[in-house]
Amino acid sequence: MKPPEPVHVIKQRREGLLRTLVDGVPYIQFLGVQFDRRGDELTAVLPFRDDLIGNPRLPALHGGATAAFLEIAAMIELAWSTLWDGVEADGALPEGPLRLPKTIDFTIDYLRAGLPRDAYARARVNRSGRRYASVHVEAWQDNRARLFAQATGHFLMPPVKPE
């Protein structure tokens, strides 16, 4: 029987995949979205900044910032969950540049005003086929059960290279 992999090797591989997906996208850096990883579970984090405010009189997060945050969380979760099995089996990242899924449509449901503080989001891939995927994402601030926004999106999967 093979001995279990050293923990630092596992962590390096998984962090490597996450960094490859996230770090190369300028807009994710612009918004300041980070990802917290526990095993294969990702939580997107949007640290509060003054320039995420929409209405300064309330003040509340801009609906557009919320929409972008949810779309990033959904897209990264989809790419992450699609690549996870292969990377775990091969012990290495796939060769060549990684292509992210493309958004076909995205529907955001604003449940309450986003407060001027950090926001969190977790996405669930409800259906992932060869060409299309459907992803649901939920966002909250203080209480996990009190969502301030949720969204569903359909995505076009990047083409798989011919064998």
């Binding site: 996208v25 300028p26 807009y27 529907t107």
Partner: protein, 140 residues
């Protein structure tokens, strides 16, 4: 220009997140708004092609839709997004400004209904379209 459009223009240009994205109000009328967002390398979603991230286009859509509601004579000045659906028809051409024209086409006592189209330099082929529902403040 009426007072309401002057106030709406000042208000929209003061929104911190819209300013961060470089949005410019080009036109605002009774229930319509046109807002542009110049191409910016920081807003790219796919570094291999230089195409803008969908999230940046969503933020532009939300701002233009909200502005069209604020400018509607029956909707009152304060509004919030209830729901917004965005269809992405094609990637925006890298280097080109995105322009969104939003129209608040129906208002009830409680809800404003909006549709919007985003284009780049080729206005015959929309980049994205949106439909949304927004809150209406009760007057009085």
């Amino acid at each position: 220009m009426s007072d309401i459009t002057t106030i709406a223009r000042q208000f929209i240009q003061a929104l911190p997140h819209s300013r961060a994205l470089g949005m410019q109000l080009e036109a605002i009328g009774e229930g319509t708004a046109t807002i542009s967002m110049p191409y910016d390398a920081r807003l790219v979603g796919d570094p291999a092609t230089g195409v803008l991230h969908g999230g940046a286009v969503s933020a532009l859509m939300d701002t233009a839709c909200g502005a069209s509601v604020m400018s509607h004579p029956q909707a009152g000045f304060s509004t919030a997004t209830l729901d917004l659906r965005i269809d992405y028809m094609r990637p925006a051409t890298p280097g080109q400004t995105i322009r969104t024209r939003a129209e608040c086409h129906h208002v009830t006592r409680s809800v404003a209904f909006v549709r919007a189209v985003a284009t780049d330099d080729d206005e015959s082929r929309p980049v994205a379209m949106a439909t949304g529902a927004f809150t209406v403040e009760r007057k009085g």
